[in-house]
């Protein structure tokens, strides 16, 4: 009994060691915030189109269409958005996933130039120059991408640019899951 008491510090130390080891080794990223919106309906919003472009605007009604939709929040001034763009084009054209955009805190002429330079894969784009609607989405930065199922519910949220390796490991599985 007494010996158990003497062993207690060692046990506590080993427990702490295991906890620290796990924190360092598990690849867990404490700065990744869980989304408060998962499995909830997308927020109510109605955004006008970007001035000087043919693509129509975006509102919540456009998300509950019976098919899975990717909502990508982007801005012309955001460098990771530029890097991510080819991936979005691929998801839309090769995987056939419906893709719409929210243009965050951007000047219309800059957004138009961005889309002219890189091609426009979005079937609809809502302009959010104030960033007010994006806040309803719980946006923490650009880019962010949401997977919306056919009933208009948010099923997955991807913070930051979609890396090529994340298409197979995260985006496509999330889209599959949302199609069920």
């Amino acid at each position: 009994m007494r010996y158990l008491l003497y062993l207690l510090p060692l046990v506590i130390f080993c427990g702490a060691g295991v906890a620290f080891w796990w924190a360092l080794d598990s690849g867990r990223d404490p700065s990744r915030l869980p989304s408060a919106l998962i499995d909830r309906p997308a927020p109510e919003f109605a955004l006008p189109p970007i001035a000087g472009i043919d693509t129509p605007g975006l509102s919540s009604g456009d998300l509950a269409t019976g098919e899975v939709t990717l909502v990508n929040v982007f801005a012309s001034w955001c460098v990771p958005c530029r890097a991510e763009h080819p991936i979005l084009v691929r998801l839309n054209q090769e995987e056939g996933i419906r893709l719409v955009g929210i243009n965050y805190q951007d000047k219309p002429e800059d957004a138009v130039r961005f889309l002219d330079d890189l091609t426009n894969p979005y079937s609809r784009i809502g302009a959010d120059p104030e960033g007010r609607t994006s806040l309803d989405w719980g946006l923490t930065g650009v880019p962010e991408t949401f997977v919306i199922d056919g009933t208009g519910r948010i099923r997955y949220r991807h913070v930051g640019p979609i890396h090529p390796s994340e298409v197979e490991s995260m985006i496509l599985p999330a889209v599959e899951e949302a199609r069920k």
Partner: protein
């Protein structure tokens, strides 16, 4: 030549006089400014264009901003964060207050979008019991441990018997032998 020298000297005197005048007059002003700065709360990222006209609402907005965490900087309140998203959140806080929301409603409005993470004070619920009550539990356990230790400590050792006459004589003999 002479006249130019005079001009220079006079100019010098003029500058010195002007400086004396400025500083003499503003020492009080400077002191007042320093005192005012010392009285102000920690630095805020609030911009003049965000401030509401109604001082009562503005005071509530400032208090609420200190209870909301910036979702970019992770350890700053939106009151002190310079991130663009934090500015948006400050504006939303004011928008909700102007719309007539109570303080609690404003906090839940943002909590619904960003999760518990945005609250500087985590809410008390089963997942956070350890966080809230853990320290108290540790304190109580420590107090119990200390109490048990103090109560079970053996009483002070008995006072030794005084020396007998024979022992005292022998001791003296030994001590004297050392002296010699």
């Amino acid at each position: 030549m002479m006249r130019e020298l005079f001009a220079v000297r006079n100019a010098g005197r003029d500058i010195a006089g002007t400086l004396r005048e400025i500083f003499g007059r503003t020492v009080g002003g400077l002191a007042a400014a320093v005192v005012a700065l010392l009285l102000v709360s920690p630095v805020s990222a609030l911009m003049p264009d965000e401030i509401l006209n109604d001082p009562a609402l503005e005071a509530r907005a400032r208090a609420l901003s200190k209870d909301l965490r910036c979702v970019v900087c992770q350890n700053e309140s939106i009151d002190s964060s310079n991130a663009e998203i934090a500015r948006q959140m400050r504006l939303v806080v004011r928008e909700r207050l102007v719309a007539g929301d109570g303080d609690g409603q404003v906090l839940s409005y943002l909590q619904a979008r960003y999760g518990d993470y945005v609250l500087m004070k985590p809410p008390i619920k089963p997942e956070t019991y350890l966080l809230w009550y853990g320290p108290a539990v540790v304190l109580v356990l420590g107090a119990i441990g200390a109490g048990v230790y103090l109560l079970r400590r053996p009483k002070a050792a008995e006072v030794a018997e005084p020396l007998t006459a024979a022992e005292r004589a022998r001791l003296n003999r030994l001590l004297n032998k050392d002296d010699a």
